[in-house]
């Protein structure tokens, strides 16, 4: 491999030793400028348009996201307010329900007490009636037993006439 300076010295031209050919250089400049012109005129506009559209889409999406976030925050506040309102209403409803239930319990207790008292009263009355009836039955049974015992003692059948005579006799004896 030859040194560049050696080649330059032998050829007397540093550009030639580096392989620089002015014709090729000018041709490449023209070709490249032509390429830039062609690409800039017919190819890049489409790519730039797509980038702009994509950018616009991203910006629109970002805007929509920001709006959605804003609306979500607003909704969050509205939901919080609704929840607070609902809690307040629920508390009020629970309070009212407690009061109403207490009243209902109190009323029911009173009603139940009245019914119980009435039932007890009816039971007492029924008991008194039963006692009176039992007494009557007992009295009649006693009378019958007395009659039967008397029949056994006097050894004769008692009827109203005999009964009357006996009673009279006893009354006279008592006198």
């Amino acid at each position: 491999m030859q040194n560049v300076t050696q080649v330059a010295a032998s050829q007397g031209n540093i550009f030639a030793s580096l392989g620089i050919d002015w014709k090729a250089l000018i041709l490449q400049i023209i070709a490249f400028l032509l390429l830039v012109f062609v690409l800039g005129k017919w190819v890049y506009p489409w790519l730039m348009k797509s980038v702009d559209e994509r950018q616009a889409g991203i910006e629109a999406a970002a805007k929509a996201t920001a709006e959605a976030q804003k609306s979500a925050e607003a909704n969050k506040e509205a939901v919080a307010q609704l929840l607070a309102q609902a809690r307040k209403e629920a508390n009020e409803i629970i309070g009212t329900a407690k009061l109403e239930s207490a009243e209902m319990v109190s009323t029911s207790e009173k009603k139940a007490q009245k019914i119980a008292e009435r039932i007890a009263k009816d039971a007492h009355e029924q008991l008194d009636k039963d006692v009176v009836n039992a007494r009557k039955v007992l009295y009649n049974d006693t009378l019958e037993l007395v009659g039967l015992a008397t029949e056994k003692i006097i050894a004769q059948k008692l009827d109203k006439k005999t009964d009357g005579e006996l009673i009279d006799a006893v009354v006279k004896a008592a006198k």
């Binding site: 620089i20 090729a24 830039v36 800039g40 348009k49």
Partner: protein, 259 residues
């Protein structure tokens, strides 16, 4: 070792080699590969543009679109003037894609092995100073054109020529600016050429050194070269934008400094 190299006939030429001549014009291997690179660039961009126009999408189109969008963002970030940024877009993006595809062509199998009349057919255009110098000249001239358009002929001239009796420091600064303009152009050309040329030599040397193991080792270096190709294209692209941005904002900065 050296005799082994000689056996493989390692041939390194700084300049591109002539394959054939048409009407007195030398068609070099780099020119031919560069033409293929340009055709690939145009085919890819036209395919993507047509697909986008028709609303057809796939991963490749998405990738190219993603790169394109990234480059557009970069242009808008570096050049504050939106109008100028839009004007610079075709040149800057074409530089990026052409440089990248041409650099990647140096990875094609057959580099320095497929020969016609002893001249390798494949040589990346990025490894030819004619191509890199052409891009650098276009960039420097474009920057100057926009500087004149934005600052005016005299405004732009003031960047370089100042009265040494009134402002000796400024005059020296102007002289440095002139040197800077040339050095920027030369640096642009030589950076890309140096990287591409060294990349090609690296691949050939690795191929010779590793012999039969090359099929295992070379892919690693090829991947590295793919990455370097992308980086070099990006560097050229960004420097074009930075030089433009510096040229058109020079007056404002100078005014601020003097104020």
């Amino acid at each position: 070792m050296i005799s082994g190299f000689a056996a493989f006939d390692l041939h390194v030429s700084i300049g591109a080699q002539t394959l054939f001549t048409i009407f007195g014009f030398d068609v070099t291997n780099a020119l031919l590969t560069g033409l293929v690179g340009v055709i690939i660039t145009v085919a890819v961009l036209v395919y993507v543009a047509l697909s986008v126009k028709r609303g057809k999408y796939n991963r490749f189109i998405g990738l190219v679109q993603w790169v394109f969008e990234g480059l557009l963002h970069q242009i808008n970030d570096i050049i504050p003037d939106k109008k100028l940024a839009k004007k610079m877009t075709p040149l800057a993006i074409t530089i990026f894609f052409v440089v990248m595809f041409n650099y990647w062509l140096s990875l094609l199998p057959g580099l320095d092995s497929i020969k016609v009349n002893g001249v390798p057919i494949l040589r990346s255009a990025a490894a030819d100073l004619n191509f890199t110098l052409a891009l650098a000249i276009i960039t420097v001239v474009t920057v100057q054109m926009y500087a004149i358009k934005y600052l005016g002929v005299f405004g732009n001239a003031k960047r370089y020529i100042r009265n040494p009796f009134k402002n000796p420091v400024g005059a020296f600064e102007g002289a440095l600016e002139i040197i800077g303009e040339f050095s920027r152009g030369v640096a642009l050309a030589l950076r890309l050429f140096g990287n591409a040329f060294a990349g090609e030599i690296l691949l050939i040397v690795i191929l010779l050194l590793t012999s039969y193991v090359a099929s295992v080792v070379l892919p690693v270096f090829m991947l590295f070269e793919l990455f370097i190709g992308f980086i070099q294209a990006y560097v050229f692209f960004v420097l074009t934008l930075i030089f433009t941005s510096l040229a058109v904002t020079h007056e404002d900065e100078h005014d601020k400094q003097t104020a």
